[in-house]
């Protein structure tokens, strides 16, 4: 149970304050809800950090979404591509969309994540802020001698020490594969391409239930990319399978993959049997592939600015 709340005025302050006993408080829909697996002695509030908000067009082909942008704010932006809006709408509750942040959802990388599969298929990038030095597990107290310093004092102290937070941009797939390494990093933004075609599908008992399978497939630069999140199994980027996809696959390709995907341990659980989920994964990937191919052959691509299509 969290016991202390402190507010960061900048991303650097937030990173400086973060130690093993603290956690970033974004929208609160995960950290503060009952049944959460997350806990911390101290919460670092991010809502007052302006640099974490906002959506901007970085280049004509890419959009930068501040990590504290809520799902609903992203939906309301003309810059956010339609494929990402499709995934944002998977969060069925409008009230929750007004609270939950994109950065928070990505950081959790839950196996029922609304966004993970789509962002993987879209080859999204994350902008991170972290300490330059290797993580020694030291607490804020260890670093600065006193945990009670406020954010700006800590920032000043870190400048004196020569410890400055460092920005880094990584592919979301790397974040997925090395989660432990990035645990204390602050996601400051998500970068998504607008020149990419991505389709996705989510399955859940009801719109408000946890999803048990979300799959997405993207196509860009002549390559397919597949992202999958499976409840009680994990979030996956099947690279080999993605790389193997060509222009003329059939149902058997996807069924075979779904049934034989090594390393994918899908349990029988309250969402359904292993056999059902494997079957569904195969059918879904096939459906996504066909949908992508239709768009590609008709020359369509998603347009991040208005979700329009162009021939």
């Amino acid at each position: 149970m969290s016991r202390e709340l402190c507010a960061a005025a900048s991303a650097s302050e937030a990173v400086i304050m973060r130690d093993a006993s603290s956690a970033y408080l974004a929208g609160g829909t995960e950290l503060l809800r009952s049944g959460t697996e997350r806990s911390a002695d101290r919460l670092i509030m991010l809502k007052n950090i302006p640099e974490l908000k906002g959506v901007s067009g970085e280049t004509p082909e890419a959009v930068r979404i501040g990590s504290m942008t809520t799902f609903q704010e992203a939906l309301g932006s003309d810059l956010v591509p339609a494929y990402l809006k499709e995934a944002l709408r998977y969060m069925a509750s409008r009230t929750k969309r007004d609270m939950a942040t994109i950065g928070g959802n990505v950081a959790l990388m839950r196996d029922d994540s609304y966004l993970a599969a789509t962002l993987i298929a879209a080859h999204a990038k994350l902008e991170l802020l972290h300490w330059a030095k290797p993580d020694s597990g030291e607490s804020v107290q260890d670093r600065f001698g006193c945990p009670d310093k406020n954010g700006s004092d800590l920032e000043e102290a870190s400048q004196v020490r020569g410890d400055q937070p460092v920005r880094e941009a990584i592919c979301i797939r790397r974040y997925l594969q090395h989660r432990e390494e990035y645990q204390k990093d602050l996601i400051t933004a998500i970068m998504v391409r607008t020149d990419i075609c991505v389709v996705s599908k989510r399955y859940a008992n009801t719109a408000e239930s946890h999803s048990y399978l979300t799959a997405a497939m993207g196509y860009a630069d002549g390559r397919f990319r597949v992202g999958v999140s499976l409840k009680n199994a994990g979030v996956f980027f099947p690279k080999e399978f993605s790389d193997s996809l060509g222009e003329d696959e059939n149902a058997e390709t996807f069924a075979r993959f779904a049934n034989s995907w090594a390393g994918l341990d899908i349990p029988d659980d309250l969402y359904g049997s292993t056999a059902y989920k494997r079957y569904l994964l195969g059918v879904t990937l096939e459906n996504l592939y066909r949908s992508l191919k239709e768009r590609i052959s008709s020359g369509q691509r998603t347009d991040g600015r208005k979700g329009e299509t162009e021939a």
């Binding site: 009230t95 009801t206 408000e208």
Partner: protein, 960 residues
């Protein structure tokens, strides 16, 4: 931390722990309408407020985050005692029913319309997507928005809120709002939690982690030392009183098979200890310090396991009977376990039980010769159906506040059955009824779960034995594992038919799971037969039912009360029989359903332990519902989808229910004319949000020719009113309404008699008329009620005019109807979407038409839920794996059918007050078979179990 914010336009400063939730802060500041329905799960939305113009779940928002914010709570809508137009529109649309989160819904609609004055249906849906409406569904919220738009643009409503019935009457049959609507929608104090005194202790319960175990020892010494702990109650120190928790008339058709605490726990979540402490923190700390040693036993979790040879017995102690003991009782008890921890089971009368084989109750009956019918039939269908364990999920969990005052025990209860609560509390405390006062507050959702006395027994006992006020509120998890559910049932139906479409024989074998205690163990499964078989004109019908004890979470009463399950099985079998015979299903239904005047011989065989009363079918709108519904859904027209993977199908089911329990239910009301001529009706009824107080007020207003605002109904207070069995079995309008009608008629007689004396005229020359006066047809003299009553209560007066009304009957007023579904099935993924759902029902004269429609919508959506999504899932140890709202899966706005209609068929009833019949339970009975038949029409598979999931569809299609 000092937090400064603006709440409802007023600057406020607080010095609080910044880690407390915003909701806690707001409630502590007096905004009680910011409710909690899900223990901070972020699901139900009862805790919704606006922060800086944006809706948030205040349970998931810290007080520390609110510093500098502008907050609007639901009680900030409207001004100075006047409702806002949104709040008024919600009342007028009929959506303010149990209303636990109606204030939050009003806030969301207000916010929507401020930002978007002309929202589309999709935009309204999106605004409501974060709030769970269980009682009225979402359909009339679209109407509420439309009403607001019209009021704002035109100054009045153009859209009708509901059809009007009986235009010759002034109030009856006219949509007129709910008498408690304004208080509920504006978030005034109304529920149990609003009456808890600051000095109240908290009661929490330690619960069993095992499905079946003896308690070998329980050590509370360490727990009792926790500062603030007042008392710990266990099997060691609770009264040795066996009782049952079902709210039913005395003598109850449910076994008395439990004490407050037992030495044998019989389900995961069963009570082990009750901890009363001055704070919740102390109670929780003490709970964790109670040391319990269990002897774990093998549980039985299904009917099949319970009936297996050598199965462990859930109850294995001796049996007693108050009446009707079998001759071999002594030898039967010789087989009982000698372990005193087994306890005993006491029957008020025989229920056909055999606890050594886990049979809690049994019954059989029928008419004609079903075997002969099967032998001679052109086709026979025999299939087995299985239904799941469904939870009510009321927005307000089970909650109770009790205190001793002046030697009397006052119990504030969210209950459907105040008088049954009083009786059962009397049993466990040993107090006589004159020293127990039950106050039924507003009920934030019952649906049958509050017909059972699940927290009031222990809370009241705790208050009595400690002398301290005690408050108990279930967590959401406890709602799942320690309250009550539908009885899961396995039903084997055998149905015979002829080529001409006649059904010639029906046999139902019902095997029901009552869980560890026998609440409603006979009556719910009986309803699966007694409220379904009488739909058929079939001379050969029989049933055989057995109800088994298991170690699953307890079953009990739930809206529909067994009928949804039996109807599912029978109608599915009929559809399959039609298919087998090559008949059109609609023609088969039309050929075989009952109509007015048909003699229901089957009722003889449907009595519970005695021969039933055979009566003819009374008012019946069944045929009209079927024909109209078929027309609406374009029965026989094949719809096509643009998606090659999607098939569209249609189905429907006829339905019936009852209006109370003839020969068992009892209702009373006392009407008194106050000194100014207004009337207070003390009704024993229990309005659980359905509008029963409004029904009674309208009845009095109509009979007495006085405005509604001059009539006040006080209900469910055992001190103030006379006895009423309570709100269950769809008895409210029919029984309590008729009692109110009787009281009103007698009040009228009393007023005329008094007026005759005061005016010196003959009674026969006098009449009543609006706005509440007596007038003489002979002389033209007029005497207002106020003048009459003032004189009657004077020093020389004959006394206040008071009338006592009551109602009992052996007559049966049966509502009928038909529900229709159109579904889209994706045959590659198994996904199912209900595109259309039409609910057509006769309710006799709908006294509150707009409320009636919303009850139909609410019940239909609930039953779409139990058909497609809902079901508690237990692991092999009896632990519920989905004991929270998100994992359990309830239908919300996105699960509503795109085209959702409720239609009231106009049929007047001979016995109901002003011709009214019941409306709400019956609406739970149609969705499962309608959807199941539609799925078959779409893709050729017969769905034989709930919920009908995509995986099941795919398996039946042979895809996996």
């Amino acid at each position: 931390m000092k937090i400064s914010c603006v709440i409802n336009h007023v600057p406020r400063t607080f010095d609080v722990d910044p880690m407390m939730s915003l909701r806690e802060l707001l409630v502590s500041a007096g905004h009680v309408c910011v409710r909690d329905s899900d223990d901070s799960e972020g699901f139900c939305g009862s805790d919704t407020v606006l922060v800086d113009g944006t809706p948030v779940y205040s349970n998931l928002y810290l007080a520390g985050e609110a510093d500098g914010c502008d907050i609007l709570t639901p009680d900030g809508l409207g001004d100075a005692g006047h409702l806002s137009d949104v709040q008024q529109a919600m009342i007028d649309a009929g959506v303010v029913q149990s209303a636990y989160n109606a204030p939050a819904a009003a806030l969301l609609l207000t916010w929507l319309l401020e930002n978007n004055p002309d929202p589309t249906k999709e935009e309204i849906e999106d605004a409501l997507s974060g709030i769970f409406i269980r009682d009225a569904s979402y359909e009339h919220y679209f109407l509420a928005v439309q009403l607001v738009r019209e009021r704002r643009k035109l100054g009045h409503y153009e859209t009708k809120t509901a059809p009007i019935f009986r235009e010759q009457l002034r109030e009856i049959g006219t949509p007129d709002g709910k008498v408690d609507g304004p208080a509920l929608v504006s978030g005034q104090r109304a529920y149990v939690e609003d009456y808890v005194s600051p000095d109240a202790c908290v009661l929490v319960v330690l619960r069993s982690p095992y499905a079946s175990a003896y308690i070998k020892s329980i050590d509370t010494a360490e727990a009792e030392k926790v500062p603030g702990v007042v008392k710990i109650i266990t099997a060691a120190n609770c009264p040795d009183i066996y009782y049952m928790q079902a709210g039913q008339g005395n003598p109850e058709p449910s076994p008395h098979d439990r004490r407050l605490f037992n030495w044998k726990v019989r389900h995961v979540g069963d009570r082990v200890a009750g901890i009363v402490a001055e704070t919740k923190e102390a109670a929780e700390q003490a709970k964790n310090l109670i040391h319990v040693e269990y002897e774990v036993l093998k549980p039985v979790l299904t009917v099949e396991e319970a009936m297996a040879e050598g199965a462990p017995a859930v109850h294995n102690g001796p049996v007693e009977y108050r009446a009707g003991a079998p001759a071999d009782l002594d030898s039967y008890n010789d087989q009982a376990s000698k372990d005193p921890r087994e306890g005993k089971v006491v029957y008020q009368f025989p229920l056909g039980a055999d606890i050594h084989h886990n049979i809690a109750a049994s019954n059989r009956g029928g008419i004609g010769d079903v075997e002969k019918a099967f032998a001679e039939a052109d086709a026979v269908v025999e299939r087995t159906y299985q239904t799941s364990q469904i939870q009510h999920t009321p927005l307000e969990p089970h909650v109770c506040f009790a205190r001793m005052e002046g030697g009397r025990l006052t119990v504030y209860a969210s209950t459907q059955v105040p008088y049954h609560v009083r009786r059962i509390v009397g049993w466990v405390t040993g107090l006589p009824e004159n020293r127990i006062h039950v106050v039924k507050t507003r009920v934030g959702g019952g649906y049958g779960s509050k017909q059972d006395i699940l927290v009031e027994d222990l809370t009241a006992y705790a208050a009595y034995v400690t002398g301290r006020p005690v408050y108990c509120r279930n967590t959401r998890e406890e709602e799942f594992i320690a309250c009550s559910t539908r009885h899961p049932m396995r039903m084997r139906v055998k149905m015979a038919g002829m080529k001409d479409g006649r059904i010639t024989g029906i046999f139902m074998e019902v095997r029901a799971n009552t869980g560890p205690y026998g609440n409603h163990c006979l009556t719910v499964p009986m309803n699966s037969c007694s409220k379904t078989l009488p739909l058929f004109k079939c001379p050969n019908m029989a049933y055989d039912l057995k109800v088994y004890y298991t170690n699953t979470p307890p079953a009990g009463a739930y809206q529909g009360y067994g009928t949804p399950k039996g109807n599912y099985a029978l109608m599915m079998a009929m559809a399959e029989l039609a298919d087998k015979l090559g008949c059109d299903y609609k023609e088969m239904v039309l050929k075989n359903h009952v109509e007015t005047g048909y003699r229901l011989d089957i009722l003889k065989g449907l009595g519970e332990g005695r021969e039933g009363n055979v009566v003819p079918v009374g008012s019946c709108g069944l045929r009209e519902a079927i024909l109209k519904g078929c027309d609406m859904i374009r029965w026989g027209v094949r719809e096509q989808s643009d998606d090659p993977d999607v098939r569209i199908g249609k189905g429907f089911a006829m339905i019936m229910q009852g209006s109370g329990l003839p020969g068992l239910d009892h209702a009373e009301a006392i009407a008194k004319m106050e000194t100014d001529g207004t009337v207070i009706l003390n009704s024993g009824c229990a309005d659980i949000g359905t509008g029963l107080d409004t029904v009674c007020a309208k009845i009095v207003s109509e009979v007495m020719c006085m405005p509604m605002e001059h009539v006040t109904v006080l209900s469910g207070d055992t001190d103030a009113a006379a006895f009423d069995t309570g709100s269950y079995a769809s008895s409210g309008t029919f029984f309590s309404g008729n009692a109110a009608l009787d009281a009103a008629k007698k009040l009228k007689e009393g007023v005329l008699k008094e007026a005759a004396l005061q005016l010196g005229e003959e009674e026969t020359d006098l009449d009543l008329r609006m706005p509440g006066e007596v007038f003489s047809r002979k002389t033209g003299a007029v005497l207002s009620y106020g003048e009459l009553s003032h004189t009657a209560c004077s020093g020389s007066g004959r006394g206040m005019v008071v009338a006592h009304g009551s109602y009992v009957t052996t007559a049966s007023s049966v509502p009928y109807g038909a529900h229709f579904a159109e579904v889209a099935v994706n045959v590659r993924t198994g996904e199912i979407k209900v595109r259309k759902f039409y609910a057509l029902q006769d309710a006799g004269t709908p006294i509150n038409p707009e409320l009636a429609l919303c009850q139909m919508y609410g019940a239909a959506l609930k039953s779409i839920g139990h058909t497609l999504y809902e079901g508690m899932i237990l692991d092999k140890n009896g632990v519920c794996l989905n004991a929270n709202m998100t994992d359990y899966g309830v239908p919300m706005v996105w699960e509503q059918p795109d085209d959702f209609k409720a239609v009231l068929i106009d049929v007047n009833d001979e016995y109901g007050p002003f011709g009214a019949k019941s409306i709400s339970e019956i609406a739970c009975n149609g969705a499962a078979p309608a959807i199941g038949i539609a799925i078959h029409d779409a893709c050729g598979v017969w769905m034989d179990s709930w919920p009908m999931t995509p995986e099941k569809i795919l398996r039946k299609l042979g895809k996996i």
